[in-house]
Subunit: 384 residues, 2 copies
């Protein structure tokens, strides 16, 4: 039932504030109060009151007057701008081999990034310590005080519950059962949002990668422990228990070989987390090594099967493949060809545009979504 309630004066203030803030941020150049009143469809006195509050809260500031305006007769109208520098956001990737963080202002503009290797055998404590060190280095380098952080997003492998606890993760030692959100919240005074890595990457490709403008897309994190993140109608589909897209188990169904076996050129399986060995096999295959070529072929057949299952279940417009920096480009053509054979309506297939940055960028997007919701949208105005 769509009903207007709006009898609460503080709610009305929040609505007006959100509307003005949004208009302020969306404006091409710094708007005057009259400009804002027009865009926000509010009276000028109301806008004036709201802008005063926003300036007080540090979210808006008077804009420097352009020299062209000064020459005009009389005192020029004051102009205002959104203070994107009023707060900062962090996106953190905690992966099997790498911990990385990216910092942005309140508009999501990137201010810096730091990445460090971490051993695949590191304990949970060591991995968390590495993440904290990366964040500290990034804040120091960018000269941003920790107290200005408004939200932190985290992307990490495994099934992640709503409170940030890792329900199940086979990729990182000690990760299953880890209250990752709670542990990281000790280092920050702002909200910390934890998301599955493939889900975060899907958000990133939708934000500024291969899926810009595509609201029904699947991101496949191809790897020795493959996973997928799905956007449906522009929103992340997490599933009832946060396990949607965990296609890594699919190969068990046919009692088929694991990716570690498929990509082996020696008969011995690769180490389940040794993605450097994977890169070597892909490189050998490109150089014409017959056994490597066969291994890659087996692996691609497996990947095609996993992706086809996802595509038949979800019917996305686009499949984005990412995960390994090199070697994946050879996957696209066979994937397209096979999907055309098996799918009633084959989706487009594209390579990730963000590569190794996808997970941290998606984590940043999570943080940005959080503050945008806080600042720019008005929940409760409409009862359903």
């Amino acid at each position: 039932m769509g009903r207007l309630t709006g009898r609460d004066p503080s709610l009305l203030r929040r609505i007006n504030s959100a509307v003005v803030l949004r208009a302020l941020r969306a404006a091409d150049g710094p708007p005057t109060l009259s400009d804002l009143a027009q865009v926000a469809e509010l009276s000028r006195p109301t806008v004036e009151g709201v802008v005063e509050q926003l300036v007080e809260a540090g979210l808006a500031a008077e804009a420097a007057v352009a020299s062209g305006d000064v020459r005009r007769q009389g005192r020029p109208a004051r102009r205002y701008r959104f203070r994107a520098e009023a707060g900062h956001l962090l996106g953190i990737e905690i992966g099997p081999h790498r911990v990385a963080a990216v910092l942005s202002d309140l508009c999501g503009r990137r201010l810096g990034t730091v990445g460090r290797a971490v051993s695949e055998q590191a304990t949970a404590d060591e991995r968390l310590e590495r993440a904290r060190a990366v964040v500290a280095e990034l804040l120091r380098t960018c000269e941003v005080p920790r107290s200005t952080l408004r939200a932190v997003g985290v992307g990490s492998p495994g099934i992640v519950e709503a409170d940030g606890t890792v329900r199940l993760c086979t990729a990182l030692p000690g990760w299953t059962g880890l209250p990752l959100g709670e542990r990281l919240r000790r280092s920050f005074r702002c909200p910390v949002l934890v998301e599955n890595d493939a889900n975060a990457a899907a958000l990133a490709e939708h934000w500024k990668g291969a899926a810009v403008g595509v609201d029904d897309a699947v991101f496949v994190l191809a790897g020795l422990s493959p996973g997928a993140g799905s956007l449906i109608g522009g929103r992340l589909h997490r599933g009832f228990g946060g396990a949607a897209g965990e296609i890594g188990a699919l190969h068990l169904l046919g009692r088929e070989a694991t990716p570690e076996h498929l990509l082996s050129t020696t008969g011995e399986p690769l180490h389940p987390l040794d993605e450097a060995a994977v890169a070597r096999v892909f490189a050998l295959a490109r150089e014409g090594d017959e056994r490597a070529r066969q291994a890659v072929e087996r692996f691609i057949r497996r990947l095609v099967h996993d992706v086809a299952a996802l595509v038949l279940a979800l019917d996305p417009e686009l499949v984005v493949v990412g995960g390994w920096a090199t070697g994946l480009d050879g996957v696209l053509d066979p994937l397209r060809r096979e999907l055309e054979r098996y799918c009633l309506r084959p989706p487009r297939v594209a390579l990730s545009l963000l590569g190794g940055e996808a997970i941290a960028t998606g984590a940043l997007r999570l943080a940005l979504d959080h503050v945008e919701e806080e600042l720019f949208t008005v929940e409760g105005a409409v009862a359903r």
Copy 2:
């Protein structure tokens, strides 16, 4: 951006009308104008005006006064009720072997149903003619004039586009490319909504079957041409091109045998639409026939694979299996067992409660959703 616009007086009238109508229908007993004013949070004169309009439009009526009220002193307050009989809804199933229709009032209360067999070799014209005959018989039996129909829902195999055209259907002769919605609209003066059969069945199980109260559920229409319908957050997930859940092609991936081969006890494949032969194989297996038992086992293994792919992709709370009236109960236990092995978070598995009525019932739900949206919700009140 959630903003209140509501400057349009006709929009305000629509909002008030929807709110009162909803309160009227939701009331336990027939409410007075004062009751309605309280529930709808509107002034009594406003409610009086709205109810007057609703009575004029035939959607509300004065309720008969209970004898208890008459004995009280003074004239009792008038009471009103929603006239569910003011219009009617149809749900139609058009399947390979059967055409059925169910009729209801505006509250979705079932007034009657008619089902007739149709040959799997029938042409599209013959099948449509059969559907029209079934509808005519149903309306005649229930003594409901065709002019009172407010919406018609249709469930049928295949990928169905938004306008009701069948994009692809391997199960019914002449169905691919058929403008099914357009053809049926000639027989009705109200909106006709066409939906894939498994999708319709999913809606039905959610409305009054095994998935009541479960918003993340997958309905598997197990058959020689299996399909699935998925609810995500209580809404149907159709996919970008309406092909979501078309898992019938999954067996092609492993170049594995088709269901017709899997269920054969003779080495010769069953006819792809001969579901009576399937029932015979299931019955033989129950009686202990070894070859039938093996055939059913092969078939179940295949079904488990298809369902597991769906479950890994979507992570639903519940899987409902339906499609065949008999034999399917033997599928549940192996399905549960296997899903527990392969899925990180196995869903509950249940048998359809609606059986052969699921598709027509879901088609009726589509029609009901349409009139509910028309009558009870207010779009445009909130600009996003």
